[in-house]
């Protein structure tokens, strides 16, 4: 057994232990914290499995964003008087056998699948062969934007629908009251002036490098969301009653860019979703990054729009 496998075993142990606590615990706040750590360990696992693109996405989205969203929702429930600690209840009789059986079944097929010999012309292999033609150096980005762009376009639609759905059930918005961390606290102010620009830099770096190295619009968008969340939490921006045109345009930008380029290809006599060049990849990715960041920040703030807080 090599040290590598030892590391894998430890991560695996942490995954199983954490998931058990997250799922069976009875103090919600603690278990959300554990869930964030679960995401962190998953990110480490991606690193071990040789998938840095996924590690980046998991760090930013899986652990960071989902965790922050959960904490925020928790805060709203508790502010409304919800109980944190659940009473102990007898679990349904079949729950344990069903869970154990499902797990065992999945393990069985997963292990069996490991033994399957790889097809020589698997899609992933062809991607690597055709990578040169796509003009990109990062195979994952090439799949997402060039080879299977339709999936990514529809995924942007999913994100948009999530926001529209959240808006539909928003109810009354109370402008203002969101943050509890005062941005005039000296350290927080310093944080804002350093971390916010650094997040911006990292986002741009991930976006630009993402065509050839790990990274891309999703990771960049998630990092940028981190910046947005920071602004919301420190009260630098506050919710507004209605979304203006700028907000709406930012929210739809990613999908709109994809749709326009994908559909205009048809008008030019090419197959739908063909991209006219590498510049289109950058254009779409930039639009996607902005849309992801704005959408997720709005979902986090539970707002239709945000505006700078006037001091």
């Amino acid at each position: 057994m090599t040290i590598g496998v030892l590391v894998d075993l430890m991560l695996a142990l942490a995954l199983v232990g954490l998931s058990l606590r997250v799922v069976t615990g009875r103090a919600l706040f603690r278990d959300i914290v554990l869930f964030i750590l679960f995401g962190l360990v998953i990110a480490l696992s991606w690193s071990r499995l040789g998938a840095p693109d996924l590690a980046l996405a998991e760090a930013a989205i899986g652990a960071g964003l989902t965790g922050a969203l959960m904490l925020m929702a928790y805060r709203r429930l508790v502010a409304g008087g919800a109980e944190d600690v659940a009473p102990r209840r007898r679990p349904p009789l079949l729950a344990v056998p069903v869970a154990v059986l499902t797990g065992a079944l999945v393990a069985l097929i997963g292990l069996a699948a490991l033994g399957v010999e790889r097809v020589p012309d698997a899609a992933g292999t062809i991607v690597l062969e055709e990578l040169g033609a796509s003009g990109l150096g990062n195979a994952v980005t090439a799949v997402l934007l060039v080879f299977r762009g339709l999936d990514t376009m529809l995924e942007m639609a999913v994100l948009l629908v999530a926001l529209l759905g959240a808006w539909a059930v928003l109810g009354e918005v109370h402008p203002g009251r969101l943050h509890q961390v005062d941005r005039r606290t000296p350290l927080v102010g310093a944080l804002l002036t350093t971390v916010a620009p650094v997040t911006l830099l990292i986002a741009v770096h991930l976006l630009l490098a993402g065509t050839d190295a790990p990274g891309g619009a999703f990771q960049a968008g998630a990092v940028l969301t981190g910046c947005g969340v920071l602004l919301v939490l420190t009260g630098t921006v506050r919710p507004r009653a209605a979304a203006g045109l700028a907000t709406k345009l930012l929210v739809i930008a990613g999908l709109a860019a994809f749709v326009m380029i994908g559909a205009s290809a048809v008008a030019l006599g090419r197959a739908p979703m063909s991209l006219p060049g590498t510049w289109a990849v950058y254009l779409i990715e930039t639009a996607m990054m902005l849309s992801i960041a704005v959408t997720m920040t709005l979902l986090f703030a539970r707002a239709r729009a945000l505006e700078p807080e006037r001091a």
Binding site: M10, R30, L40, L44, R48, G50, L56, R75, A79, V181
Partner: protein, 88 residues
Amino acid sequence: MTAIALGLAVVFLLLNLLAGLWRIGQGPTAADRMLAVLLFGSTTVAVLLIMAQWLGDEALRTVALLFVVLATIVTLAFVGTTRDGERP
């Protein structure tokens, strides 16, 4: 030798993480749990940096950078979250 040292360092830091889990389970206050998250954050950064060297994967340094930047945000979300929520 270098590879072994790097691997052992990762194993040692992961053991630290597992120990931190105990503090989260134990509490007793929300702040204690958040402290453990802090431990997780800083240790993960170190693990990622060492793994970048160990596995020869440049991109993991970017992941580490991302962690450093985003770690504070979770703390901020936490501080805003628990004032009247978490019982001590």
